[in-house]
């Protein structure tokens, strides 16, 4: 019970601050936390990146394997995204099968990668209808201080940007070649705190929030994915304003990945 009371006091405090355009960690409503991207963190992966948004930490690793195309897309490779919200990363996560929260992160990241045509899947076809590359994007959340979706996609895109196709390991070619990246989608997440909508929420802000909205944009001006989450509502005007802000943050974050990500 005392925990619930503490949580309620914290929520009220966060909402009171937001009403004055302030936040618990001193940021402004449209201020993103310090971001760092460490590409190539894991040498056993075919591509990897460790991303930090404040205390939130996501490690993405890419693995490519030779597999079989789906019957309905015989000329394309296969892409699979999985996010693990392991109990190491937060006192609130428990061991066991993936919870809806982890599934949501996986699927929203997957949709952005897919819709933005991040990876040229047709280039992953080896023999039509028979043999193709399967590209696994695995995200390991190591620290959870809110906004897992943005961190997970950023790590994934950075990892993909530096990935190589292991042709030698699978005896498919003489030399490995870089995985070709078309677009670099960036997801930007906001939460409503009363009448204020703030970017890049912390864990505490997410628990105080009255609705969450994620917008993925790419570098050629397209919105490629959106996801409203948590209990709460957004007006069409809220949404349009959030989309505008997402483009600005997206461009800035995308620049951090760099052209080839290596």
């Amino acid at each position: 019970m005392s925990e619930e009371v503490t949580a309620e006091i914290l929520q009220t405090h966060i909402l009171d601050l937001a009403a004055e355009g302030r936040r618990l960690d001193g940021r402004g409503p449209d201020e993103y936390r310090k971001v760092s991207i460490e590409p190539g963190f894991v040498v056993t992966a075919d591509g990897s990146a460790l991303v930090r948004l404040g205390e939130t930490m996501a490690l993405a690793g890419i693995k490519l394997e030779v597999g079989k195309p789906f019957p309905d897309t015989p000329n394309a490779g296969v892409l699979t995204t999985n996010a693990e919200l392991i109990p190491l990363s937060s006192p609130t996560f428990e061991p066991g099968p993936p919870q809806p929260g982890a599934i949501e992160v996986s699927r929203v990241v997957d949709r952005a990668i897919r819709a933005a045509e991040t990876v040229d899947l047709t280039a992953l076809c080896v023999t039509p209808a028979e043999k193709c590359w399967t590209c696994f994007v695995d995200v390991h959340i190591l620290g959870h201080d809110g906004n897992l979706i943005d961190a997970a996609l950023l790590a994934s895109v950075a990892a993909l940007s530096g990935a190589t196709i292991p042709l030698k390991r699978f005896g498919v070619g003489e030399a490995d070649r870089p995985l070709e990246i078309h677009h670099r989608p960036i997801e930007c997440t906001f939460v409503r705190l009363g009448d204020t909508i703030v970017v890049d929420p912390t864990f505490d802000e997410e628990h105080a929030a009255q609705g969450r909205l994620t917008v993925a944009t790419d570098e050629i001006g397209r919105v490629v994915a959106m996801q409203k989450g948590l209990v709460g509502a957004f007006s069409p005007d809220d949404i349009k304003s959030v989309v505008r802000r997402a483009f600005v943050h997206g461009d800035r974050l995308r620049a951090m990945i760099g052209r080839n990500g290596r």
Binding site: M226, V231, K240, R244
Partner: protein, 250 residues
């Protein structure tokens, strides 16, 4: 969206702006809603929408299972969106896949945004949505069915939750996509509206749109929701007029 490497893409929009089934861009598919078809449930609804058939049932407020999900200050809203094995072209293995689990989560959050959950602390309100026949837009059909079932169960809510998907098809923004449009179109944007406040409690998007297209899509979707809203209210009126006593008691 964007079936990369797929075999053939049909023509989705003809020269006169007519869609694959002859609809205009702002036209809904035929929609019929029946409130209260299931006697075992506390509330229920059956929705036929284009070639979708979706049944919803509501149980609760009742004891929470599993127990540790119980909340001391409000009801827990649990939702299970499930597709029958035979509801799609290629047989689906029974049970909840990741897609169904994600949809269950966002639908539950949408309902929790409008239900007065504080009125029923330590209880569970369970919304079960079964897709019997699917043809794009099943989560919206599920929201409509679930929302009418909640009303049928007498659960107090801010408002009903009409829902519809808007998409981008052959370069144009179109209301209420059917399967071919969803498979081969450029974007899909399902939403659920609280008519009273004009705010959205469910919003997802996949594909690609520009900012102006998105603005247009939101407007088209909100308009569609308002049409659907009237049908939902009519279905509940029909239910009450047929069986006033049962409705009273529920």
């Amino acid at each position: 969206m964007g079936s990369v490497g797929a075999k053939e893409v049909p023509v989705l929009l003809d020269a006169e702006g007519r869609r694959i089934d002859g609809r205009r861009l702002d036209e809904l598919r035929p929609l019929t809603i029946r409130a209260g078809p299931l006697r075992q449930a506390d509330g229920s609804a059956f929705v036929e929408w284009g070639q979708n058939k979706v049944m919803a049932a509501v149980y609760g407020p009742r004891e929470v299972h599993p127990r540790h999900l119980q909340q001391s200050t409000k009801a827990v809203i649990q939702c299970r969106y499930n597709m029958a094995a035979f509801s799609v072209d290629e047989r689906k293995r029974p049970g909840l896949d990741r897609r169904s689990q994600e949809i269950s989560k966002v639908i539950a959050e949408a309902f929790e945004s409008v239900v007065f959950a504080e009125e029923f602390p330590r209880t569970s309100i369970d919304v079960y949505i079964e897709v019997l026949q699917a043809n794009a837009g099943t989560r919206c059909a599920g929201l409509v069915a679930g929302s009418v079932a909640l009303a049928d169960a007498g659960i107090p809510m801010v408002d009903l939750l009409p829902a519809v998907a808007v998409g981008k098809v052959g370069g144009a923004i179109a209301l209420d996509l059917k399967k071919e449009e969803d498979n081969f179109g450029e974007a899909d944007l399902p939403m659920a509206l609280v008519p009273q406040s004009g705010r959205l409690v469910l919003l997802q998007m996949e594909g690609h749109m520009t900012e102006p297209e998105l603005a247009q899509a939101l407007e088209l979707g909100v308009g569609g929701c308002r049409t659907i809203y009237e049908k939902m209210k009519a279905a509940l009126r029909d239910r009450y007029s047929v069986a006033p006593v049962a409705a009273e008691a529920s």
